[in-house]
């Protein structure tokens, strides 16, 4: 279902897309990136109503955006353009309401929406099984758990929609709180049924209690101790104000702990990962884009920094950064059967 673009290429694209909203609040870049993500999203082959998650992400995006805008307006009382004032006696929200905070809230909402639609695109384009397949053998148990967790929400939503449609077909009308049990009880029983099916499926695939205990990795204990040392080092580094080394140590601790706690699974593949021209195109453009976004800023000013406080200025726009974002539209051009 992933067309001509394989999961690795999509993963690269997704990582590249989410870096910018996390590092910049330049509204021009965020707007362009949002357009790019939407272009890629709507270029994907049409899915069935049950699996197409765009409405869900649109709802979540809209909700988070409204929350972000409202939160900024009510809690940030800084800026040169005051449009209203709440009584100063009100805790937290009391004070000047500024256009600066409103604009910052809109920009933040745009960043959140971009990440959400990028996630929707990634979810739609890539099968979870392909993602689990990408993981090394030692992380397969973690991958299975993550895969089940990733599937949980969409499956529950799909089940909820089925129940709602079925009840309506029977003539039931949802009017208020009293009608909730008519929806919740079948949803729970469906969930339990699905859990039983899942456990049986896992059992038959050798993940259950009756499975042969997997041999612990040879250096499991060493890896666990190393992970603990990394955690202590991370805490010390962060406590002393060295955030970057601290985060790197924390990341290392996570990786070591994962490897240390995972069993070894010998895996065979019937179908090797296919690197089609589309996959190569998307991977190459993503790599170029991520290089520009991460490294070109140290050579030239890409105008990623932008703030609406204390006054609203017009944002900068570097053509080089714009080109990097344009490269991310490559999945729209790629052939997807």
């Amino acid at each position: 279902m992933n067309g001509g673009i394989n999961a690795v290429a999509w993963a690269l694209w997704f990582v590249t897309v989410v870096i910018l909203p996390m590092t910049s609040r330049n509204p021009l870049y965020l707007a362009l990136l949002l357009l790019v993500v939407l272009a890629v999203f709507f270029s994907l082959p049409e899915r069935s109503g049950h699996t197409n998650p765009w409405r869900l992400f649109a709802y979540i995006g809209a909700g988070v955006s409204l929350l972000s805008i409202g939160f900024n307006i009510l809690t940030v009382h800084v800026g040169d353009r005051v449009f209203a004032r709440l009584p100063d006696g009100l805790p937290v929200v009391g004070g000047a309401l500024t256009v600066n905070a409103l604009v910052y809230g809109v920009i933040s909402a745009m960043a959140i929406s971009t990440v959400l639609f990028a996630a929707a695109t990634f979810n739609t384009a890539v099968r979870h099984a392909d993602l689990v397949r990408m993981l090394p053998g030692s992380l397969s148990r973690f991958g299975v758990a993550a895969g089940i967790a990733l599937l949980f929400v969409p499956q529950t939503i799909a089940a909820g929609r089925d129940i709602y449609d079925a009840q309506r077909a029977r003539g039931h009308h949802f009017r208020g709180i009293r009608d909730v049990p008519a929806f919740i009880v079948p949803l729970l029983s469906t969930g339990l049924e699905r859990a039983l099916l899942l456990s049986e499926a896992l059992e038959t695939r050798g993940f259950g209690a009756s499975a042969t205990v997997m041999r612990a990795p040879r250096h499991a204990r060493v890896l666990t101790v190393a992970a603990a040392v990394c955690v202590v080092a991370a805490l010390l580094a962060i406590g002393l104000g060295s955030y970057v080394p601290g985060m790197v140590a924390l990341l290392a601790a996570g990786v070591l702990a994962l490897y240390g706690s995972s069993g070894t699974v010998r895996r065979t593949r019937y179908k090797p990962l296919e690197w089609s021209p589309s996959s190569l195109l998307v991977s190459a453009t993503s790599l170029v884009a991520i290089t520009i976004i991460l490294f070109a800023r140290s050579v030239t000013d890409l105008a990623f920094a932008y703030d609406t406080f204390p006054r609203i200025d017009s944002p900068g726009f570097a053509p080089l950064a714009g080109v990097a974002l344009l490269l991310l539209v490559a999945p729209s051009l790629a052939r997807q059967p």
């Binding site: 270029s43 703030d307 204390p310 974002l325 051009l333």
Partner: protein
């Protein structure tokens, strides 16, 4: 019974007296004394009682002494008193005495220098003192072998100070002679000999002030200050020389001259000023040293200018300059070079003297808080109005140290700016954004004020590029959408 009661009463009175004395002696002295503060007032009152009938003052014997009289004139001028009005019963003032005896000092360029300096300070012309040209007497008294005016570095320093007071520039050789007389430990000796160990604090302090007055020998001045610092005793006073080291015993005259040298060089002399005040007797006079606690006319006359933080030569206002860089929220930069006459000013003074529109508010023990500069910031009644949420904006205060801006940890009123220092203010919630500048650039006006960080480069073609890219994305997205919805044939 009566005896016992009286005995107790006496013991109680003695205890109370001791307690009062203890409290009085432990009260810390103020570092800067105002001219009308009691220690100065009573010292001047005491000085006036020492005037002879001919208007003179004498530290040694009964006969009038031009040197001591010149010292008193300098002290009176420093305290803002016109010496011509300090007269005896028959109307003679110290100026009258010096004028009448100017002819007698022409043979000694050092003494002529001291008298000329005093007369210049009092507003008289040293080139025509009852027909005597004291400046000519100084320059004519040049020793062709040593290059000194007079017989040594001490007289030479006084002569140079007198020339500075009269606005006369000595030739380079005269300043070179003084620089060449510096001993390797940074000191100068009265005779001008450069043998190690012969230097003294008095000649060194005079030499430093002479060099500063002629804007020469920065390195030599620094070395001289180092030498003076090495002579500070445990109470903060300065000893005459290092001969009694390590048991140094400071004296009033040496401490006073050292204070003047420190102030002239832009150094902090507050600890020495506090020590100097301890040399005052209850009657107002100062004594030379703890083991010679008698009232001393010379000590009193030489101490007063130092307590008033006045340097030699009087009347030569040496302008000092401090720099100021202000960065506003939009990135615009304001550069100022502020001139001042005092030895130092604080950060708030620098800001207010810059002529910028500044509003402030009291900030507890830290002095004043700066609320707004040039209209940017907060009102005085809510000085940190934009700092209560994230991002927190307020005026951050920085000082330029070794070319790097460092945020100052205390209030601007706690900061002491000497000649050449530079302060910075930035309206920011994050980085200061202040550029590194030099005072020479500020004073020369070679740094151009930067206007608001500019929208010019973000207009026109920039946004056209953005619009073009956005349109391209829409076209590609539309193409992708149409292709994905096309039914297979």
């Amino acid at each position: 019974m009566h005896l016992s009661l009286r005995h107790h009463a006496l013991r109680l009175a003695a205890s109370v007296l001791l307690l009062v004395l203890a409290i009085v002696t432990t009260i810390p002295a103020a570092s800067a004394v105002e001219p009308d503060a009691p220690p100065i007032t009573i010292a001047i009152e005491w000085l006036q009682t020492q005037q002879a009938a001919d208007g003179s003052f004498s530290a040694f014997g009964d006969e009038g002494d031009p040197g001591t009289t010149a010292d008193v004139v300098i002290a009176l001028v420093a305290a803002g008193i016109d010496p011509a009005r300090v007269t005896t019963g028959d109307g003679s003032s110290p100026i009258d005495y010096l004028s009448a005896n100017a002819g007698g000092v022409t043979g000694d360029p050092g003494l002529a220098g001291k008298v000329a300096m005093a007369l210049s300070a009092a507003g008289s012309d040293p080139r025509d003192v009852n027909g005597t040209d004291l400046i000519a007497a100084i320059t004519d008294g040049r020793d062709s072998d040593t290059g000194f005016f007079g017989q040594g570095a001490g007289t030479h320093a006084y002569a140079l100070l007198a020339l500075a007071a009269a606005g006369a520039d000595p030739d380079v050789a005269a300043l070179d002679a003084l620089l060449a007389a510096q001993i390797e430990d940074g000191s100068w000796g009265f005779t001008g000999a450069t043998t190690p160990g012969t230097g003294d604090s008095n000649t060194t302090a005079l030499a430093i002030q002479a060099l500063v007055a002629h804007d020469a020998g920065d390195t030599a001045v620094d070395a001289g200050i180092e030498y003076l610092s090495s002579l500070q005793d445990e109470h903060g006073a300065i000893a005459y020389d290092a001969s009694e080291a390590p048991d140094l015993a400071g004296d009033a005259n040496s401490t006073a001259l050292a204070i003047q040298a420190f102030i002239a060089a832009g150094e902090d002399a507050s600890s020495m000023i506090a020590a100097l005040e301890s040399f005052q007797n209850p009657g107002g006079a100062f004594f030379w040293r703890a083991d010679f606690a008698e009232d001393s006319l010379l000590a009193t006359a030489q101490t007063l200018p130092a307590l008033l933080e006045v340097t030699l030569p009087l009347g030569q206002a040496r302008t000092k300059v401090a720099g100021l860089v202000v960065r506003q929220g939009d990135g615009s930069l304001i550069y100022q070079a502020v001139e001042f006459e005092e030895p130092s000013i604080d950060g708030i003074e620098l800001l207010t003297r810059s002529g910028l529109d500044v509003s402030m508010a009291p900030f507890g023990g830290l002095g004043g808080a700066v609320c707004s500069i040039e209209g940017e910031g907060c009102p005085s009644d809510d000085c940190f109005c934009q700092s209560y949420s994230n991002p927190a904006f307020f005026w951050h205060y920085y000082v330029l140290e070794d070319g790097e801006w460092v945020e100052y940890p205390a209030g601007a009123s706690s900061r002491t700016l000497a000649d050449g220092d530079i302060d910075g203010w930035s309206w920011t919630a994050d980085k200061h954004g202040l550029p590194a500048v030099t005072l020479e650039e500020l004073a020369a006006g070679s740094v151009t004020p930067v206007a608001a960080e500019p929208d010019e480069e973000n207009s026109g073609s920039t946004y056209l590029t953005f619009a073009g890219m956005a349109a391209l994305v829409l076209v590609i997205g539309g193409f992708g959408f149409m292709r994905s919805r096309r039914k297979p044939v």
